[in-house]
């Protein structure tokens, strides 16, 4: 078991390394060079050469990559090309909003959607089940900004509650007023991940429900509620934990659109700005942070699924 987990972590680290290679060399597809962006078009050749040397751009790509990775691992993300400020300073100002929204969303969305999904699995084919399915099928295929627009229409325009932009800083607010502050972004992300979570948790329970031991329990006359809660749910926990981790990983991408939609500063708006100003250093550093979070959550999903399922641990 331990060796298997270590093996998975090893695979995860290789994946992270591959991700860093993709991100680093991905931004180097074109010869467009950071020294030129830093100095502008009018820079003289001599200035450019000096700047290249200072930034380490005169070395080979492999050396640049190794240096960059070493700096990244020791917490030095480099200096922004667009604003000449260390990336870590830019992040320090903004990471809270992104973290708050993701964490607050998962606190609400995960338990609620699991409960809804399991309830739907308890009464498959009922009106409740069908309506829930219809809503989640619709929302899962719709873009985040459509969900956000519906919520703004309902809360801001129809009910006249709040504002379509998130303004001000959430610093020093309690948990409850934090939810009020980020109400619309959190609601949007919750709907988006709930539509997936409900379907997948329902499927996980129904999947277990079709196994022979459940049939046995039905035949010996165990009440349906008890079958779900005592027999099926225990075996569905593994896949459900897996599904939860996958959906938390999804927040990494969902948060990008939501931050831009509601116009508040966060890491996602920062990376979008970096792309617009072609600030490679910023895109590389932040891209790594987002992708590593994603890889770690995926790894957690993977470990959870086989930790809970002996059959995955001992493949035939």
């Amino acid at each position: 078991m331990t060796s298997l987990i270590l093996k998975r972590i090893g695979i995860g680290m290789i994946t992270a390394l591959a991700v860093s290679i993709i991100i680093f060399f991905g931004t180097k597809i074109l010869p467009g060079d950071a020294a030129q962006i830093r100095l502008g078009q009018e820079a003289t050749e001599a200035n450019m050469a000096a700047m290249r040397e200072r930034m380490g751009l005169d070395k080979s790509y492999v050396m640049q990559y190794v240096t960059w990775l070493g700096n990244f691992l020791s917490g030095n993300l480099g200096i922004s090309l667009a604003s000449d400020v260390p990336i870590t300073d830019l992040i320090a100002d903004r990471y809270q909003n992104t973290v708050y929204v993701s964490v607050l969303t998962s606190i609400v969305a995960v338990p609620v959607s699991l409960a809804l999904g399991i309830l739907a699995a308890m009464f498959p084919g009922s009106y409740y089940d069908r309506i829930l399915t219809l809503v989640s099928v619709t929302l899962v295929a719709a873009p985040e900004f459509f969900t956000a627009t519906l919520l703004v229409l309902l809360f801001v325009f129809a009910l006249d509650l709040g504002n379509a932009v998130v303004v001000g800083s959430p610093d020093g607010k309690g948990l409850f007023s934090m939810y009020a502050h980020f109400a619309l972004p959190i609601a949007t992300l919750s709907f988006v991940i709930a539509s997936q979570l409900i379907r997948m948790s329902r499927a996980a329970v129904l999947n277990v429900m079709s196994s022979p031991y459940i049939e046995m329990a039905i035949l010996k006359g165990v009440p349906r509620r008890r079958i779900i809660l005592r027999h099926a749910l225990l075996n569905a926990i593994g896949p459900i934990v897996n599904v939860v981790a996958l959906n938390l990983a999804y927040l990494v991408t969902g948060v990008v659109v939501v931050e831009v939609y509601f116009g508040y500063p966060g890491l996602a708006t920062l990376i979008v700005q970096g792309v617009q100003t072609r600030d490679f250093v910023l895109v590389q550093g932040l891209g790594m942070i987002f992708c590593l979070t994603y890889v770690i959550l995926m790894l957690a999903a993977d470990v959870a699924s086989f930790a809970s399922n002996p059959r995955l641990r001992h493949p035939k």
């Binding site: 900004f145 792309v275 699924s305």
Partner: protein, 307 residues
């Protein structure tokens, strides 16, 4: 593959990678009759396809025309002559949706076709090649699959800038990795079937096996999945455009229209300029989803059971 654990599909990453649960079953090749939901989906999809094709010719105004120069004001409410009002630069929203339809749908369709061309060729190639080639190709592919698609998109756009060809190639290659995994899985599954074994024993060449044994059996699940993949590509392209990194102004596309007109929600003005393009994307993707679901359910597919 065939005796894989039923829970294995939960190991797959979130939305756009293939889980075994998500493999659409082969629908019957003949006698598909859409249900009511299927018809709704088909109607919506055909409607948007028609708008994409003829929209620019029947649009009441030009893409960037200012229809009411005398009454210039942003976000005008709908009125006779401008049925969906005007946008942030006082352009006709209806006309821009008609121009944008072709761009959003055209880019997404081309990208999905590219993804399929690349993914299917490489995936089936990996399935019929030996374990070494397969292993190497799968590992490289897994590295791409382990990145969130939108981040890959951001990195590419940061490096080469955004233009329509770049969008098509980027989305096409990103989603090719998903198609690769799917077609490889399907190819592997078919490779161990008795009839392939028989063909090999008969002494048929690799090309025969691909075209005569694998392709006829892999075709229908792949076509069903095409619809699903098209949805994800539309969402990907629209999200990039929404972030201002996709189709560049003054060209209209649905995602960038939502972004351009966000001010209407925030500072007041005709909100239809935001609602209309957002609704256009959602209706298209949900419509395609209804078709995919219906086709798959018709074949007694897992998709319908899962829903």
């Amino acid at each position: 593959m065939s005796n894989s654990d039923p829970l294995e599909h939960f190991v797959a990453p979130y939305d756009d990678s293939v889980s075994f649960d998500e493999l659409p079953d082969a629908p019957p090749t003949t006698g598909y009759r859409p249900s009511i939901m299927g018809w709704i989906g088909i109607t919506v999809a055909v409607f948007w396809l028609a708008v994409a094709l003829i929209g620019p010719f029947i649009a009441p105004y030009g893409e960037n025309a200012l229809p009411f120069p005398d009454a210039y004001s942003e976000f005008q409410s709908p009125r006779s002559g401008a049925w969906l009002g005007t946008d942030v630069e006082d352009r006709d929203v209806l006309s821009r949706i008609m121009f944008g339809a072709g761009r959003t749908i055209g880019i997404s369709l081309s990208a999905t076709l590219l993804a399929y061309l690349t993914g299917v060729v490489l995936g089936i190639g990996a399935a019929v090649s030996g374990p070494r080639v397969d292993m190497a190709m799968s590992r490289i592919n897994d590295a791409f699959l382990s990145l969130p698609t939108i981040m890959l998109g951001l990195v590419v756009v940061a490096a080469v800038g955004s233009s329509i060809p770049v969008l098509i190639v980027t989305a096409g290659l990103i989603y090719a990795s998903v198609v690769f995994r799917l077609s490889r899985a399907i190819g592997m599954e078919i490779m161990v079937m008795d009839f392939v074994e028989a063909a090999k024993v008969r002494g048929e060449g690799r090309w025969w096996i691909i075209t005569r044994e694998i392709w006829p059996n892999a075709r229908m699940p792949l076509i069903t999945d095409f619809g699903l993949r098209l949805i994800y590509v539309i969402l990907f392209i629209s999200s990039l455009s929404f972030l201002g990194l996709g189709v560049q102004p003054p060209k209209a596309d649905w995602g960038s229209m939502v972004r351009d007109n966000l001010g209407a929600l925030q500072y007041g003005g005709s909100i239809i300029s935001v609602v209309a393009p957002a609704l256009a994307i959602a209706s298209l993707t949900v419509g395609i989803n209804l078709i995919v679901d219906d086709v798959s359910a018709h074949g007694g597919g897992k998709l319908s059971k899962r829903m």
